[in-house]
């Protein structure tokens, strides 16, 4: 691949720069009635400076922005820990059915039987996959599922009259784990990783005591490795009267193969947008249902979806932690994940098998070129290190990521987990064909050669995107976080 841009990118003016006073698209209905006055103290004095565009220009604007965005539909997107799998298009059609899309959340239960049944069936399938009996669909995303899980722990111990104030997380944990611990009012303790990439059991034994409320763990870990000592880990916590929380970020590796409940976890969150295929939408939406053991069931958020003859929303749970977001959860997300799970049925196991096969194939073909910090077969993802390339050629994980863009591939997650220097975290997912995996392998191998032959090619990459590397220091030091109209600075490089 040359350093020449592959295509010419047109300018994309801001929507405010496309605006012309007096132009408009939408014309809301105006009833033939007088407009009443509002109290002057409440009436808007100056109209908001919304853009003024005709519909053709609006459509062109959003088309231009879409063109400058790379999604799974554009190409390979092995962003580790994010499970960027194909989003089936039938999901969009089904979530858009008027019976779902135009259903008001305060519709009487009798008028929402289809929606409630869908949620109830989704709960049943999720419970079977977790190996735990009770499910709430309410949390809005994985990190809210984590927080919900910690609130459940707090309620569980308060109900038992136990005072426990510490949550243990792995040093490989996603940042959401420690952030959730603080938001839930707990104290954080970290446990190390041993040389095989498992939790360090000796370190753990020294830290678990009568103050420990629980563990938060991703399994497989963010290193893409299944914790081989998980049964002993569960024993250590349960013997101390503490609980285990399963961060479902990496569930895509083990659906139908190993269930968190069977591993010993008491509380589990799922990332519907990862394992069960939601369009990620440039950052969201997601869904973060939580499953629990029967001892924790009384504390689940309300309302809950129940079946007793008809389906209904049940608000009557006096021990509940309360509500964590609006209504019964992000329903449109449920339609998509329900459809996804019904398409596979018990074949969800094959989904995970292929995710693991794809990851191991890519790993096998790259392990002689990049450093592999934990020399094991991986699960659905793996972490390489560019430490050797950095030492020998001064090329970093960031440079490799930027150069991949020139090959038409979205970079993997970089610099995470923190325990691996110059980390490249690669998750191909099960929906990729072998050719796309081979393209990626070829690009990564070629980039390793380029690092030796012409490192500046990497350091100056990307060469073929609408913009080149950004001045992020400037963005942080002199933040411009909105368009400022007449006072907008004319930035000069």
């Amino acid at each position: 691949m040359s350093t020449e841009p592959g295509r010419a990118w047109s300018d994309a003016p801001l929507i405010f720069e496309r605006s012309r006073p007096g132009r408009r698209a939408g014309r809301p209905p105006r009833p033939d009635l007088p407009v009443p006055d509002l109290p002057s103290s409440l009436r808007r004095a100056h109209p908001p400076r919304l853009p003024e565009l005709s519909e053709p220009e609006l459509v062109r604007h959003f088309t231009a922005l879409a063109d400058r965005t790379f999604g799974i539909d554009t190409g390979f997107y092995p962003l580790g820990s994010c499970t960027m799998k194909h989003n089936p298009r039938v999901h969009e059609r089904l979530a858009g059915l008027p019976g779902f899309r135009d259903l008001h959340p305060y519709q009487e239960d009798e008028g929402a039987q289809g929606a409630l049944e869908l949620m109830w069936r989704l709960q049943e399938m999720l419970a079977e996959i977790a190996g735990l009996p009770a499910v709430t669909l309410q949390p809005a995303a994985g990190s809210q599922g984590e927080l919900t899980g910690l609130m459940l722990m707090r309620a569980y111990f308060a109900d038992r009259g136990e005072e426990r104030d510490t949550i243990i997380t792995a040093d490989t944990a996603h940042g959401t784990n420690p952030a959730s611990v603080t938001m839930a009012g707990y104290r954080l303790e970290k446990v190390g990783t041993d040389e095989r990439g498992n939790l360090d059991l000796d370190d753990l034994r020294g830290k678990v005591n009568e103050r420990t409320a629980g563990l938060m763990l991703t399994n497989p870990s963010t290193l893409g490795l299944f914790d081989e000592g998980i049964e002993e880990v569960a024993r250590i916590f349960h013997d101390a009267g503490a609980l285990l929380y399963y961060d479902g970020a990496n569930l895509n590796a083990v659906v139908g193969i190993s269930r968190p409940g069977d591993m010993g976890f008491d509380i589990v969150h799922y990332n519907l947008h990862k394992t069960f295929s939601q369009p990620h939408g440039g950052g969201g939406p997601g869904g973060g249902p939580v499953a629990v053991r029967d001892t924790i069931e009384p504390f689940l958020p309300v309302p809950r979806v129940v079946q007793d003859g008809d389906y209904r929303l049940d608000h009557d749970h006096p021990k509940s932690i309360g509500r964590v977001r609006g209504f019964a959860g992000p329903f449109g997300v449920f339609v998509r994940s329900y459809a996804f799970m019904r398409a596979y049925g018990p074949g969800l196991k094959e989904m995970s098998e292929v995710a693991v096969l794809n990851a191991n194939y890519v790993l096998a073909r790259l392990r002689d070129v990049y450093d592999l910090p934990y020399d094991r077969l991986c699960m659905h993802e793996f972490v390489l290190s560019a430490r050797g390339l950095k030492r020998e050629h001064g090329v970093t994980a960031l440079d490799i990521a930027k150069r991949l863009m020139d090959y038409g591939i979205h970079p993997p997650t970089i610099y995470f987990p923190l325990v691996v220097p110059e980390a490249l975290m690669i998750e191909p997912t099960e929906t990729e064909p072998k050719e796309r995996l081979d393209d990626f392998v070829d690009a990564m191998r070629r980039i390793a050669e380029e690092a030796a032959e012409s490192p500046e090619l990497l350091k100056e990459a990307p060469h073929g995107r609408p913009v080149r590397r950004l001045d992020e220091v400037r963005a942080a030091k002199q933040p411009i976080l909105r368009y400022l109209f007449d006072e907008h600075p004319a930035l000069v490089g």
């Binding site: 610099y415 220091v473 963005a475 942080a476 030091k477």
Partner: protein
């Protein structure tokens, strides 16, 4: 422009990569060349308030680059007498001159004996080399 690596002889050092310049019962504090290099170009310094007290080995502010944030750990205990306004307004000064114009705070020591526990330059150089 970042400074070249250096560790002045006349300073005392803390293992969390902070330095102290002792002047009577007062001390000027900052972060070492090693610390600013590990962080990269600083974009923000969250300083303690004048009049508050800082405690040895405890955080007494934060320094941030684009992709990292780090506590400034107090090498000594005492009352904050002055905060370097220039480091607040133009935090890159810490990268450019970590031991001079890039100092962070000046304190009146509450326990000057704490100085004895800090490293001298040779000990700190050895410590930084191990990182």
């Amino acid at each position: 422009m970042a400074a070249a690596e250096s560790y002045p002889d006349d300073l005392r050092y803390h293992r969390e990569h902070d330095w102290a310049r002792i002047e009577g019962d007062e001390a000027t504090l900052g972060i070492t060349w090693f610390a600013q290099d590990a962080l990269g170009e600083l974009v923000h310094y969250e300083a303690p308030e004048v009049g508050t007290t800082v405690t040895k080995d405890q955080p007494c502010g934060e320094v941030e680059s684009v992709k990292a944030v780090s506590d400034v750990v107090a090498p000594l205990s005492g009352e904050v007498l002055e905060v370097n306004a220039k480091a607040v307004d133009e935090p890159e000064i810490v990268n450019e001159d970590p031991y001079g114009d890039g100092w962070l705070i000046r304190i009146r020591m509450s326990d000057p004996a704490e100085v004895e526990a800090l490293m001298d330059v040779e000990a700190y150089k050895a410590h930084a080399a191990e990182q």
